[in-house]
């Protein structure tokens, strides 16, 4: 079953703009991860934020986590056409299986 919802389901922006995606989850977590998927291919790990962290940066990515609201956001700054992809949040189960959010399809227009 899905861990939670992501919004928006789809987002279309111009190159150079920032893109923000939100994720909500249902259970207690140790960490939350974000993955990217290009054109229905394999997923690539982007960033992990632990439950005791509130914000984390990696290059043009900024992730926030609010455990009181059971929500996270992913911000991509200065977007590029190559950022066009689907983005998923995911939480880990004890045996390290992942439970994914519903995903956001990002389109960056050149």
């Amino acid at each position: 079953s899905q861990q939670g919802e992501e919004d928006p389901q789809a987002l279309s922006i111009q190159e150079g703009e920032n893109a923000t995606m939100n994720c909500s989850y249902k259970t207690s977590i140790n960490n939350l991860q974000w993955y990217r998927q290009n054109s229905g291919r394999g997923l690539v790990h982007l960033i992990l934020i632990r439950s005791n962290e509130r914000e984390k940066h990696s290059g043009r990515l900024r992730v926030t986590l609010d455990t009181s609201k059971k929500s996270s956001s992913l911000l991509i700054t200065a977007s590029r056409a190559a950022d066009t992809a689907s983005y998923f949040c995911a939480t880990s189960r004890p045996a390290r299986q992942l439970t994914f959010g519903s995903g956001t399809q990002l389109t960056v227009l050149p």
């Binding site: 079953s1 291919r41 998923f88 992942l98």
Partner: protein, 113 residues
């Protein structure tokens, strides 16, 4: 990191037939995971494949429909049996390295006609 080779990358199959998907990892891992991604949807875990024991299936997935083999610590197969058009999906294998980061094969895009 982990390198995962998954094949076939895509296939078009007749209903009622079966397809076996192979996943080869570049080093030994205890558990391998199989996910399904239906068109326009997110990923759903099918089962966890352990070497030397039966795979553990998630609710809604059964061994008769999705038999899994795990003959050694670097290889696993997932078979989609007696296929129907509803089985048209992307199937992905995955492993976890370190504490949490998951690595994925490139996926098998299955179309059942």
């Amino acid at each position: 990191s982990a390198v995962i080779s998954q094949k076939p990358s895509r296939d078009i199959c007749q209903r009622g037939t079966s397809l076996t998907i192979q996943c080869q990892v570049d080093s030994q891992v205890t558990m391998m995971f199989w996910y399904r991604q239906q068109p326009g949807q997110s990923l759903t875990l099918i089962a966890t494949a352990n070497q030397g024991s039966e795979a553990t299936y998630e609710s809604g997935f059964v061994i008769d429909k999705f038999p899994i083999s795990r003959p050694n610590l670097t290889f696993s197969t997932l078979t989609v049996s007696n296929m129907s058009p509803e089985d048209s999906s992307i199937y992905l294998c995955s492993v976890v390295r370190g504490s949490t980061e998951a690595f994925f094969g490139q996926g098998t895009r299955l179309t059942v006609v």
